[in-house]
Amino acid sequence: MTTTVEQAKQLGLTNSEFDKIKELIGRTPNFTELGIFSAMWNEHCSYKSSRVWLSKLPTKNKYVIQGPGENAGVIDIGDNDVAIFKIESHNHPSYIEPYQGAATGVGGILRDVFTMGARPIANLNSIRFGRPSHPKTKYLLNGVVSGIAGYGNCMGIPTVGGEVEFDECYDGNILVNAMNIGLAKKDKVFLSIASGIGNPVIYVGSKTGRDGIHGASMASQEFDDNSEAKKPTVQVGDPFAEKLLLEACLELMKTDTIISIQDMGAAGLTSSSVEMASKGKLGIEIDLNKVPCRETEMQPFELMLSESQERMLIVLKEGKEQEAEKIFKKWDLDFSVIGKMTDSKNLVLYFNNKVVCNIPITSLADEAPKYNREWVSTPIPTEINIDKKLNDLDILDCLKKLLSHENQANKSWVWEQYDHMVMGDTVQRPGGDAAVIRVHGTDKALAATVDCTPRYCLAHPFTGGMQAVCETYRNLTAVGAEPRAITNCLNFGNPEKKEIMGQFVDVIKGMAEACQALDYPVISGNVSLYNETNGVGIKPTPTIGGVGLISNVNQTVNFALKSIGSHLIVIGKTKGHIYQSALCYDILHLKKGPPPSIELANEKKNSLFIRELIKQSLTNAVHDISDGGIALAIAEMCMAGKIGAKINTNKLFEDRVKFLFGEDQSRYIVEVNNKDLEKVKKLISSNNIDYLDIGITQKDHLEIDEIKISIDNMLELNNKWFINYNSK
């Protein structure tokens, strides 16, 4: 049965792509083959619009063991231990079906990590929703949070950190980015490169059903008003099955049986088999009648494109089938030898003893389209004078509004739904600058954070991309960690529009510059394009997940103030950059002007200085200054420690609003005991650090010049938003 260009278009391929397929295989593909091409050539799997630019990102430093290209990246954390991590989007499915979309997003990223031989130890996530008043937002928020909780809690992997933001640009396209970090031994990392002609190909895990067919193609298209009709393309998760799969795979990995292993994620059996064969430069042969099925009468096209969850493809050493099968039977999982590696360099599929697909692997992988799309750079916006509007502001009112705003509110309503303590190694729980998780059985720990500031990215994508990387670097620094590497999830609109493609290009350039200067490379990630509804795209949102190492877990700090009468010092240069600040953007709705600029040399210098302070126990509390500037940072430190502060802005800076709410980069606030003050100031001067001694800690109240607010009052304002919103 040959196919037509109309069928190709229905599957999301273009005219020229259909022609290219015919040219590559020398004939018109049959329906199964066409489905396989559409699955491999969609944006989600092929990165056809982004590959050209992704190659510009730095991917190496002395700690990187495995960079992009595998299921997840690997870094060295000493003592033969490695950390394996990645972040991935599940945006489109989560909008259509929030619980299952978010749950399977977590499931997918977990498989990416344990496929590599790691035991997952920490989940993080970045979730973004539309305006709270949008009719779908409450439903989506509740569904996504429950879905993340439902999956991670059942798996017994703590969800330790993340970010939640509301912005109208996500009204029709929410973002759900899930990150996982795992631990493995350096000499026990598993890759997806198949080898050995004749080696058996094994299917393990749950059975294949009709769920999720075309999930990856759906994720490569814009939404319109009929997006609801796409519900059948969303997969359904079974975290218990994944828990069994995790334990069975880790048990199998202790034996000497595995050549390569690959999870069945986007585009299911198609992409997993093609990727393994492609990396090994081999062919693969599969008998589709041997695939364990959940439903009857499943056709080759469905078997190859199903995105049923909790499944793995493994190439075993020949003769090891029984040893492996025993382990999967113990865990009550399906185990089936479905094919073998061949020297044909083709993907050959049999169904009812007939060949239903025979296409060169290279045509699916290496020959996949690669577009150098047209792009146009976004210039730096000009500064307009808004001083008049700022001068009239009541500072206490601004602080109260920020504390009560959904984007700055206490997020415990969210993270208390996630088990963040299971596994018994969570040293810093959610709500801090970065989560800290002890490496089990050792005195070292990993720090992790997820960050992005989309309003900066929209205003000037280059600076925004740079800032997202720096923000994670700073958050890791604030808990005393040495930042080691990042993973990224690049969420953008339709790349066929040159402005959007330009945002993507500029963000990559900004990120690359920061990664280079900070020796902080990208080791894994994913790209999510076409985040548009009815032609309106999201703000460029490059979510960055940063991971750092704390060599002595006893040398970490949080941002809670600890004692009365100690000094509060701002580290880093305060210039009063107010454009694109949370105050201007969310409270005053003044959305014009450039984002704060970053000097990467200062970023690094200040970070090294902070880490030194923590190492020498010269500070009780450290907080990075971000949204809401100095004022909000101090307020958060007061609320966390239930200790007040007295700040005097007089003589420090001429413009008080800009001083308190400006969002200059590369800054921290540190709490320093009186007895250590001299030592700290010496270190400041010997390292040539910009600083301001802004005040002292005191009981019960935050005072800024003539204004005064109690900690109880701040807590009340900060804690109420999520509770009120969700109880209505």
Partner: protein, 224 residues
Amino acid sequence: MKASVIVFPGSNCDRDVQVALEKFQISTTMVWHQDTSLPKCDLIVLPGGFSYGDYLRCGSMASKSKVMNEVIKFANKGGYVFGICNGFQILTETGLLPGALLRNYKLKFICKDICVKTTNNQTPFTNKISVQKILTIPIAHNEGNYFASQEEINTLKENNQIVFQYCDVDGNISDQSNPNGSILNIAGIVNKNKNVLGMMPHPERVIDQILGGTDGQEIFKSLL
């Protein structure tokens, strides 16, 4: 003191409780759910988690598992059985403890530190804790809302079987300090013979200051 920790395929606090037991030099053996005989021991722990996925009522499938037959026999002979979270749910499903654990009244999973008052220290699990002492221990559950008939509650009271009750930092047992809707703020109970304890809070998570607290130690010390 020798302990066995039962490992169901969906258990996920099994390692955490093993770490806690071993911290107090209690030698610990992990027992797989399909095992039909138990190693010789003084204490059996049913750890937290999702035993068989808990897609059905929490703990109901586990209560019918092979290994639970042995656990029930062990308990009936007077052996100590300690169920934490999912373990507590399993104990109510087997009937070793009365009542049931319903969904939290707000229908959300809750993971946070809470306070409990030790209302009975005449049990092997609490004998080193001063009576009325307030402990800070985290909960992490979706179904921790303790329910029992009025008759069963009366029996629990008469026999002094209520061991832990949710309270605020000052020890007030009230609706405000009740995180999940449990009758009488019940967080943990023992059977009539006081050799079986079920509790929703996770003491194994607070045995180390670096993890945020040490109040959980008091329970493990009592077992020694």
